[in-house]
Subunit: 387 residues, 2 copies
């Protein structure tokens, strides 16, 4: 059982916010109903003290582990979560919801606006990472849980864990931020902007009112996904996977897909269309652009008891080690318990989804409920792991 | 006069290939007529020995220096070319043509196909860097010049200078390759592929038959240009120029352009539409993808007398120093006279268009007609310039 991972799972759905008790966003906008889809793995212990809350990234969903019938198609973090795995479901109870604004069961811009009876489209309010956390907290309350053993996420997921711990440290014992960022760089925002331009300039975007029409900005969303994929892989990773290999070496030049990297990107773009919604892409990417918690004038780092683990990857050029180092520096400077580990991996930002032994060992050690913390080396400056 | 640069210039046009004497491409395809637009600066000396041939990059044109009436809008390499400038037009005669496949006066895919009377569109044959050089050689012949003092270009321009010198070293005394590449990496090709996908998936691309319809793939071309611009700037450069500055700090979140980097990219995308054609973008980017001269089994490096200068920039992540170092290593390994200088500049690939003193000093020294070459330090390994 330990090696087989989690078996069949399915998403639960719960309505968290109603007209009587709407979600009030940071902007002041109110939203109801808010339905949330989530999955759970493992068993909640009687003390309700073993909850690991998984926050997904830009294009993730609630299906983090196990399978929905086809054992070959497993959740996006299946290698990390399961019996005997770093997040060990024989001991821990894992909750993973689809984010606010999502397109896999949680209320988002393609959901029905009760005010009009049609889809929200661009009338859905913009929201912040703090708003994502508000919904996580509502979900916990609905499940009767006060406090999480660990909040964990990669990329945008790590941003949520960070915001949560900064705002409600009493609720988050441990926060694991994998290749996260406390603020996007100009280059990061530029890539977001290009992706959104590709989507919104597609005539089938129709000003955001495409849901329900049977059409959608598929060309634009595919281009956005292709561009994003370049940033998820390192140059080295692309060289190893594809280099300049052609499907038909020696054949005449063509505009059709010829180089293997073209086939790969095209496949990534097309397969994305089957599972993702362009409006969700717009909203969540915009949420990331504006994230900048350390610029919040109301930020108070004086009583943060959360223990932080930051993991970054040396070839990640989306949210590389400098992003994690900046977070670690801010936290350590305020006397907060933080460890930053830079793991060597040739695979760039995508590494957070991969089974990289050193990365998994560090996460496993951190979430292990040991008081002696013997696994931990000095926390700052970042420790480089040589594999 | 020395500080003012070149005055007013205009493009000449010449028909180089006719049905009786067509351009025969490397693929075997024949093309005629081929008209070429070009500009010249300075005076051809009586021995016809002072020609500097400028090869432009992906989105360049024949207007390298001087102005066309508006003194504020000068040619793309005006800071390099002119009286008293590194390519000194008081001594040198500069020729800069628009490339085959171009959209600024030279025959390309938006030109009229004499076989149909309509625009070529995607019926224009694909062509190689060697084909670009064939047209350069035809132009020289038409101008009565046998041999160039220097062939120079940045990016795709450097590729042309390289191919030319490898194939016809007797015709090229000196070759200056600025941030060039002997072959695109998988990541380079990936960015090309995304740009082309944005263009061809635009419904107004119309299978390439948009010329003359009054419509064109403007949305796709703008997205392509925005994406490319990210690769032309370094992350450091974007941070310095824009960081996270907003046009309206403190205003509510919006999907409209807000961060300065968004305004910049949007402006770059839109202004590009006024001067460039999407089909040219497709063709020239595809020419770059396939360029790989050192893989040519017929390549013979044994009698190459051309002297090479390679300049790269330390923050260039499109064709960074590793690309130039690979070329330099190949040439030096065959005993060819090559110098590679890595210039420090925070501005990434765009540096080749900027007035960077060390870069200009090195180019000026190399094209100076001195036999003692006192300016040159040992040629290999690359010399790092600290400014």
């Amino acid at each position: 059982m330990s090696s087989g991972g989690i078996g069949r799972t399915r998403a639960e759905r719960v309505v968290l916010c109603t007209p009587d008790d709407p979600l009030i966003l940071e902007s002041g906008a109110e939203l109801s109903p808010v339905e949330v889809a989530y999955e759970t793995y493992g068993r909640l212990d009687p003390e309700r003290s073993n909850v690991v809350f998984v926050c997904h990234a830009l294009t993730g969903d609630a299906h983090a582990a196990g399978h929905h019938g086809n054992r070959e198609r497993r959740g996006w973090w299946d290698n990390l979560i399961g019996p005997g795995r770093p997040i060990d479901t024989e001991r821990l109870f894992v909750i993973c919801p689809n984010l606010l604004g999502g397109c896999q069961g949680t209320t988002g811009p393609s959901s029905t606006d009760p005010g009009t009876g049609g889809p929200y489209g661009l009338r859905f309010p913009l929201f912040t990472v703090r708003d994502l956390v508000s919904v996580h907290r509502r979900l916990l309350r609905a499940l009767g849980v006060d406090r999480v053993h660990t909040a964990i996420g990669g990329s945008l997921g790590g941003m949520q864990a960070l915001q949560w711990a900064l705002d409600h440290p009493e609720q988050v014992e441990r926060a694991v931020l994998v290749c996260a960022s406390a603020k996007l760089s100009a280059q990061n925002i530029a890539f977001s902007a290009v992706a959104r331009a590709a989507i919104t300039s597609d005539p089938d975007f129709g000003g955001g009112d495409y849901p329900g029409t049977g059409r959608g900005p598929e060309r634009g969303l595919a281009v956005a996904r292709m561009t994003a994929h370049i940033t998820y892989l390192s140059e080295e990773s692309m060289r190893r996977k594809f280099d300049r290999a052609r499907r038909a070496p020696g054949a005449p030049m063509t505009f059709a897909d010829d180089f293997e990297v073209e086939h790969y990107l095209d496949h990534q773009g097309q397969s994305f269309l089957r599972r993702f919604d362009a409006l969700t892409y717009l909203y969540l990417s915009r949420t990331m652009d504006y994230f900048d918690p350390f610029a919040d004038p109301a930020l108070d780092l004086s009583d943060i008891t959360t223990r932080f683990l930051l993991v970054s990857f040396d070839t990640d050029w989306r949210f590389g080690s400098a992003h994690s180092a900046e977070i670690a520096g801010r936290l350590a400077g305020a006397g907060i318990d933080v460890e930053h580990v830079e793991v060597r991996s040739p695979w760039g930002h995508d590494s957070f989804l991969l089974e990289i032994p050193e990365y998994h060992r560090v996460v496993a050690g951190f979430v292990a409920d040991s008081n002696d913390r013997a696994y931990a080396e000095p926390m700052w400056p970042p420790r480089r792991n040589h594999r």
